[in-house]
């Protein structure tokens, strides 16, 4: 669906932010994008939506150069959710805020309304549809930003550190929402520094280091293979992966504490309640 071909980019007066990065993103993938601050993650995602032009190489959407459309047109295919939702919220109700994007498109009233209703339903915002957006909690404002992007019916959603400023429960709910959207066929690219989240929710991870792609493969393999110098790339092996690595023969590959517990329990001959994940 989206192809990044040998892309390089540099901000004026600075060292190259991206060096010859190539990436192929298929429809419906759930990809993590990781790396230390300044590694080029945000630059890469900005180029994906046309918020910048590569110095060399190109971004292709469905086999056509993305630069032909520009970001406003790209938004119909690739939604971008910024880290800070307050930079875009300006209307007096959640529903009208979500409707801003569809209003920019040449859609009929019915199509527009349906797009807004769908986006609100997908993000669980129907109950607060008439609330004042800025009066809601950060987690809701982040959902509004996601709903705003979804209202344009993109096939791929890019989220730049969407869980920043949220507590554990809010993070969990947001990741459940992203999992649900991904289950409905919407591709997700998650830019994050949260390694637990990366391991638990993404199937594929791309790591950037000093503007270069240093890893692109299964997330579990990234942390399981000692040949990967994740510390040098500014990453950290999640505790659950570190424990699983030490007891590999017992646990096998696991992605979360629940999976680890279930695996150990299974080895001990116990059963696991499918609903709660607890040992029985």
């Amino acid at each position: 669906m989206l192809e990044i071909q040998q892309v390089s980019f540099a901000y004026p007066g600075h060292a190259p932010a991206l060096k010859n990065v190539s990436l192929s993103i298929q429809a419906g993938e759930f990809i993590g994008l990781a790396g230390r601050n300044g590694s080029g993650k945000t630059t890469l995602t900005r180029l994906m939506v046309g918020l910048g032009k590569p110095a060399s190489g190109q971004v292709m959407l469905d086999g056509k150069p993305a630069k032909d459309g520009g970001p406003a047109v790209m938004a119909r295919s690739v939604g971008y959710v910024f880290q800070n939702p307050d930079r875009q919220i300006f209307r007096d109700t959640v529903a009208s805020e979500v409707a801003y994007g569809p209003e920019q498109m040449d859609w009929s009233d019915d199509e527009r309304q349906a797009a807004v209703d769908d986006a609100l339903a997908m993000t669980g915002l129907i109950e607060v549809a008439q609330a004042y957006p800025r009066g809601l909690a950060r987690s809701f404002r982040q959902r509004i930003a996601i709903a705003s992007a979804l209202a344009l019916k993109p096939r791929l959603l890019i989220l730049d550190e969407p869980t920043s400023g949220q507590d554990a429960e809010e993070k969990k709910q947001l990741m459940q929402l992203l999992g649900k959207l991904n289950g409905q066929g919407i591709g997700v690219i998650l830019v994050t520094h949260d390694m637990e989240m990366l391991l638990e929710h993404t199937r594929r991870t791309v790591v950037l280091h000093q503007g270069e792609k240093v890893y692109d493969g299964p997330t579990q393999e990234l942390f399981a293979d000692p040949a990967h110098d994740v510390a040098a790339w500014g990453l950290r092996v999640p505790d659950v992966a570190a424990i699983a690595a030490k007891f590999a023969k017992i646990t096998g590959a696991v992605r979360s504490v629940e999976e680890l517990a279930a695996s150990i329990n299974n080895q001990l001959g116990g059963k696991t309640d499918e609903k709660s994940g607890a040992s029985v």
């Binding site: 970001p71 971008y80 910024f82 344009l152």
Partner: protein, 222 residues
């Protein structure tokens, strides 16, 4: 200019503005502008200001041209545009070569302006680049939701609401946060001190003497 005392830099900026008001010769004004641009380059500020300077040049050119249909002589119209540029570049030069906390300290300690007013002045200056960066970020966020600048001026003005409203709301929130953080750090105390070095050195007195001489010469020969 970076090595001059902040007050000396401020006085130099005011002096340049006074000279600019008094001088009507386009060649002299152009020479002043050339010196300023050379100083900007020397201070390492030219590259990042190049785009802004080009925009300023366009505004100045427009300002000059718009006077011509009203029977204003060409040299006067050109001088008006140049005056605008020289004054603006003088302020940019000062901002690019003076640390704002030092300027605040100079305004309070040497000019005896109440701290609250000096702080307000320098904070407003400090907010300008932040505000520009914020407007850029807001614009990008809205572009990603389909915002397009219409060619129709009326539609364009209406569409600006999508950019202006988040910026204003963010600015209010930020100013509230800043006010709170200042109060928590003792803003408004009875007596305060500054850590910045703002005392005049020999080169500052030399610049002041030059300012007096040049101002006298400008008044005498204009």
């Amino acid at each position: 200019m970076k090595s001059l005392a902040p007050l000396c830099n401020l006085l130099l900026t005011i002096a340049v503005s006074v000279w600019t008001v008094l001088i009507w010769d386009p060649a002299s004004l152009a020479a002043m502008l050339a010196v300023q641009i050379a100083l900007l380059a020397y201070a390492g500020q030219l590259r990042k200001l190049l785009k802004g300077l080009f925009g300023l040049l366009m505004v100045a050119a427009f300002f000059s041209v718009i006077q011509l249909p009203f029977d204003v002589a060409v040299p006067i119209a050109v001088a008006s545009g140049l005056k605008m540029m020289v004054m603006t570049v003088a302020v940019l030069l000062m901002l690019g070569t003076t640390r704002l906390p030092s300027l605040t300290a100079a305004l309070v300690s040497q000019v005896k302006i109440p701290y609250e007013y000096a702080f307000m002045f320098t904070s407003a200056l400090r907010f300008m680049p932040d505000f520009i960066a914020e407007s850029h970020a807001v614009r990008e966020a809205q572009i990603c939701r389909g915002y397009v600048q219409s060619r129709n001026p009326l539609k364009r003005i209406v569409a600006y609401a999508a950019l202006v409203e988040p910026m204003v709301l963010r600015a209010i929130t930020r100013s509230e946060t800043m006010a709170m953080s200042l109060e928590l750090r003792g803003f408004g105390g009875v007596r305060r001190t500054f850590t910045q070095q703002i005392a005049f050195a020999g080169r500052d007195y030399l610049v002041l003497a030059l300012i007096v001489v040049i101002t006298a010469a400008v008044i005498r020969y204009r």
